[in-house]
Symmetry: C2
Subunit: 351 residues, 2 copies
């Protein structure tokens, strides 16, 4: 269904001579060259980071003239010439999730520092949309891709490798691919140990997306720790939720209706934890006194909530920066390994 060429373009003219807007042409090397009375290739050299084969005075003169005229290198044209776009693609389920937005902020920050631009796309966990967005990125000839939306049965990373396109997973892991993520097994463990130390024997899990490594491993780490302490978390007490506060609310309601109601809940994500808190309150129960709750990620608001949320902190900004850095390493052909960042327990008022 995906055609290499773009067909449907609502109303936008393509072929008609665009009129109406000034559309002044940007200053080119040639224009600067004319003013400077030199060949345009000389201008190109003078404007390069460390000019070679050009007199220092010429460099200075040309550079001044260039800024004066408002010259800005056409990155697209340069990319065409050198075969590298200095563009990084980022695929993310939803930027409206603060955790992902923070991750992306880290990526964007590091990229911009390294002289790269990023193109990010929301995939909303929809295969169709994802494919079409990925197509766009490939058309833009991105130098590499960061995948923050991988699912367990997803082969995208592998396919990209076959295309020779460097790629790094972020946030979510996949055994056979290079990734930067939090040690979610350890994170789940931290949560469990904390609840155990608080004396909770009946617990429930709001697992988030169990087709993603995050959902899987956070739950797994948690249940492992409980099992090792001689307690079991029955399958019935592990709810696969969607994303966001509403999903958390609904998942929590299911937990509250269980015959053996948990006295503590581990939510694999702060936002779902917030929703869960709403459900607990709506059920006429008191948070912590009746039901404790612990989240994951430590997003901005967790600390400021009416009842500050106990949570597992995940270094999201750092994760973003690290994944970008790793991607650049791959692009340069340097050997890279996956990286696991350390989660940290932040105890506040909900446990």
């Amino acid at each position: 269904m995906v055609k290499p060429q773009d067909e449907v373009r609502s109303g936008l003219e393509v072929t008609s001579p665009e009129r109406g807007v000034p559309a002044q042409k940007p200053v080119t090397l040639a224009m600067v060259a004319k003013h400077a009375q030199v060949h345009y290739s000389t201008v190109s050299r003078a404007l390069s980071p460390n000019p070679t084969g050009i007199g220092a005075d010429t460099v200075k003169r040309v550079r001044e003239l260039a800024t004066l005229l408002g010259y800005r290198r056409d990155e697209g044209a340069a990319a065409l010439k050198r075969g590298r776009s200095r563009l990084i693609g980022v695929l993310v389920p939803r930027l409206t999730d603060v955790a992902l937005a923070t991750l992306y902020a880290g990526i964007d920050d590091a990229a911009s520092l390294a002289g790269y631009d990023t193109v990010v796309a929301n995939t909303w966990d929809e295969a169709e949309r994802r494919r079409s967005r990925l197509d766009s990125l490939l058309s833009r000839r991105v130098d590499g891709i960061i995948l923050a939306d991988s699912h367990i049965a997803d082969h995208t990373a592998h396919e990209l490798s076959k295309l020779g396109l460097p790629c790094v997973l972020a946030m979510r892991r996949l055994p056979s691919e290079v990734s930067v993520s939090t040690d979610d097994l350890a994170g789940g463990r931290l949560a469990a140990e904390h609840l155990i130390s608080r004396g909770h024997t009946q617990v429930g899990i709001i697992a988030g997306d169990i087709t993603a490594s995050t959902g899987i491993e956070r739950s797994q780490g948690f249940t492992s720790a409980y099992r090792e302490s001689g307690m079991d978390v029955p399958q019935s007490h592990i709810i696969a939720s969607g994303f966001g506060a509403l999903a958390g609310y609904e998942a929590c309601r299911k937990l509250l209706e269980l015959p053996e109601r948990p006295t503590a809940i581990f939510a694999a994500d702060d936002l779902t934890a917030v929703g869960a808190m709403g459900a607990i309150r709506d059920a006429g129960l008191r948070i912590r006194n009746d039901i404790a709750i612990i989240g994951y990620n430590d997003i901005d608001i967790s600390k400021q909530l009416p009842i500050p949320l106990t949570t597992i902190r995940s270094p999201l900004l750092e994760m973003g920066r690290a994944s970008l850095k790793k991607l650049l390493d791959r692009i340069s052909g340097r050997p890279v390994d996956s990286e696991l960042l350390k989660p940290e327990l932040i105890v506040r008022s909900t446990t």
Copy 2:
């Protein structure tokens, strides 16, 4: 080739092909052409949206071959040729603010539908960073820019116009520029009227950024409505806060310390409202019973909070889509006007 004198400064590379990765070259028109036994311009025509001057069978044959070979048009090269990049730049203070992320989701969605890609940049409200990111966008030869971070004394939009680059403001307004935003005066009014109807005579405002139209007009609409009802909101009760929950927390504390403590607070943003709720609770006061609070935007979590937040809903997704559409109109030279979206009062439990 080796110049003896260069040994001293051998640290300064000039041309290191830095390779290491397969870096397979993408399929080009020429390759498809070779396989199809036709001239590459024929392939180009066959792959264009509505091929002209080409036999239907040739079109079919070429297209099949193209998909088979995995051909993907090089957007960068195409852009160079046609003088349009099909790239839209977006400047945003911070994507980590859900409201902005939602706005961007709308933009991105509409852009992708129209065959455009977007490049977004966080400016963090820092002039320096903003300038450098804007520079990047210009270097990428974006076809237009959406500014979601404009301040009152900001002339960027005007300067872009002078460059002939179409641009639209989103979220925040500026009198002389084309924008898509919520009617914040009306929104502030809605909030005020609601609080008035609840009998609150002593109120406070957490105004957010008062160098942005949002902060200004939401406060202004609010105070106007109060004044027209014969009540005044003293300047001392209007706190200019920063962004996020923490800022809301601190601003609220200031309000609570006032000699004439307000019985209700209008926060110009849901996130700051959340922080404010934390401060109210920390002060040992009860939300609604002691102090009512109303927010703005109606972000996802507002509804699911332990105490669901009364707020003014702003159609953020729609705003994003509309601003992109308007930008495309400008790009095509169609006449455009600013647009004000209607805010809506959502009454929940905090008032």
